[in-house]
């Protein structure tokens, strides 16, 4: 990692020291609330019904928790990459300030993505601990599931960074959450297998990175077999990361160095 990237990462960490309060609530409290409501509350009903067989023989809490882990990683990555990036380009313009120093647009993108990765490792680890505490997985399964969750977030962070940097409509950026992140959260195999989706929608779920992340995280946590070979799921997520990062660098260059 080059020195300027490290300096960008350092700036993120220093800024985070001022703003960490808000994210702690979402990082620690949200998984507990979700697992309680959906996993324990709703799960009791599901398990009494036809659940078991359709969920591959697992209880609903076990089925849900790893999916929720991956989906939460997506949300964390999206939240860190949308409005904060827009702000640093359009409102507070701290990226403009950084570019007057030896730091380049590429350093800003890579530094930001490294920062998101760190945040994801932290958030996913906390979530895995909570999962384990709820008995949704064993300690080893929980630890194993952290990596696919981080990878899921990192598949989303670059394209969202690029959109936040490239667009100018703030309404449009909110729409990304309303019409992108929220539907993905609900329909990518997190809460129920995508085989329950209407047939035409199933390929849509397969195209989105979240489904791959959910499959991988679930396989890691439960030791079950994912829909594709694990490497194929992983490669798909890495492709989103790399292509997205390349696009984000181009967008940053076009927007900030002109």
């Amino acid at each position: 990692m080059s020195a300027p990237v490290l300096r960008v990462l350092e700036a993120h960490a220093r800024t985070y020291r001022r703003t960490w309060m808000g994210s702690v609530v979402t990082t620690f409290l949200n998984p507990i609330l979700f697992l309680l409501a959906m996993g324990v509350g709703l799960g009791a009903l599901v398990d009494r019904g036809v659940g078991g067989a359709a969920l591959g023989g697992f209880g609903y809490l076990e089925f849900l928790a790893p999916g929720l882990l991956a989906a939460t990683a997506m949300q964390t990555a999206a939240a860190d990459s949308a409005f904060p990036v827009r702000a640093r380009i359009k409102w507070v313009k701290t990226y403009h300030a950084a570019l007057a120093t030896p730091v380049s647009a590429r350093d800003l993108v890579v530094g930001h993505l490294c920062w998101v990765a760190l945040r994801l490792v932290l958030a996913a680890s906390v979530f895995a601990l909570v999962m384990t505490a709820f008995g949704a997985t064993g300690p080893a399964g929980g630890a194993l599931a952290v990596l696919p969750a981080v990878l899921t977030g990192m598949a989303f962070a670059p394209p969202i960074t690029a959109i936040a940097a490239g667009g100018s409509s703030d309404y449009g950026l909110s729409s990304l959450f309303r019409f992108g992140i929220v539907p993905l959260f609900l329909f990518s195999g997190t809460f129920f297998p995508i085989s329950q989706l209407p047939a035409p929608l199933q390929p849509v779920a397969v195209v989105t990175p979240l489904w791959h992340g959910v499959e991988l995280a679930r396989a890691a946590a439960l030791g079950s077999a994912p829909a594709w070979p694990p490497l194929a799921h992983g490669a798909y997520l890495v492709a989103w990361l790399l292509v997205g990062a390349a696009v984000a660098v181009r967008v940053f260059d076009r927007k900030l160095v002109r």
């Binding site: 300027p4 300096r7 700036a11 800024t15 703003t19 507070v92 701290t94 007057a100 120093t101």
Partner: protein
Amino acid sequence: MSEIVVEAAGLTKRFGAFTAVDGIDFVVRPGEAFGFLGPNGAGKSSTMRMIGATSPVSQGHLRVLGRDPATDGAAIRSRLGVVPQENTLDAELSVYENLLIYGRYFDLPRRVINERVAELLDFVELTDRREDRVDPLSGGMKRRLTIARALVNQPDLLLLDEPTTGLDPQARHLVWDRLYRLKQRGVTLVVTTHYMDDAEQLCDRLVVMDQGRIAAEGSPRELIARYVTREVLELRFAAGLQDGVADSVHGLAKRVEDLPDRLLLYTDEADQVVAEIADRGLEPESVVVRRSTLEDVFLRLTGRSLVE
């Protein structure tokens, strides 16, 4: 270090079909304060950004500190201090944290930054605000902090894009005073401004830009001598009585400008003209004789119409 700090020849910046900077030539020498004057949209900021190696040159030759911004951008930027038009401070962070983060971008050790922060805050009179958040600081304080930030890497060249726009007179004077001190210490300054009196005091040399081109170049004194007269006589008349006066004063001054609210007579001998005006039976409501300023040069060269 080469003898010339900035060297531009045929420097051009285009944004699509629009030409913001249209083939300008200039040099900035070590230790000098060089000014870009011009109305909004004249191409000053685009020129500054090209010098700052944050905006690619569309065409022409540019060397900054002896290097080519197209290939050595990071190396150039490591030796520049930049005060952009907008402060671009992180309002959530403290004064100190803003300087620290910026200093770290230059890969300076924290110990060195801490030493410099103490000096710099003293220099811009913000020592007692060191731990305060930036957000509630006044406009003048934020501006001074931005100047301190630009100095954290001890730059060889300081670029200031409208350093005093939007500040009240006290804050403005403090900023210009500090810039003057930097100049005395031998820091090379490149400044854009539309405050003529400031430019007149600070700049050794300046260029007047208009519509992407350089309209004139020289020291403030040279420009005044070349484009306007030594003095200006301003005559105001009671409502409706100015009509036709421009014709009656014809020949009295080198140049007469008939504005809606007053008549300007450009002359080297204002007292004599005042006497002759009385001889011709004209009775202005008020007569003001003043020294010509860069503002007169500026308006002469770039016109009086509003630039939007």
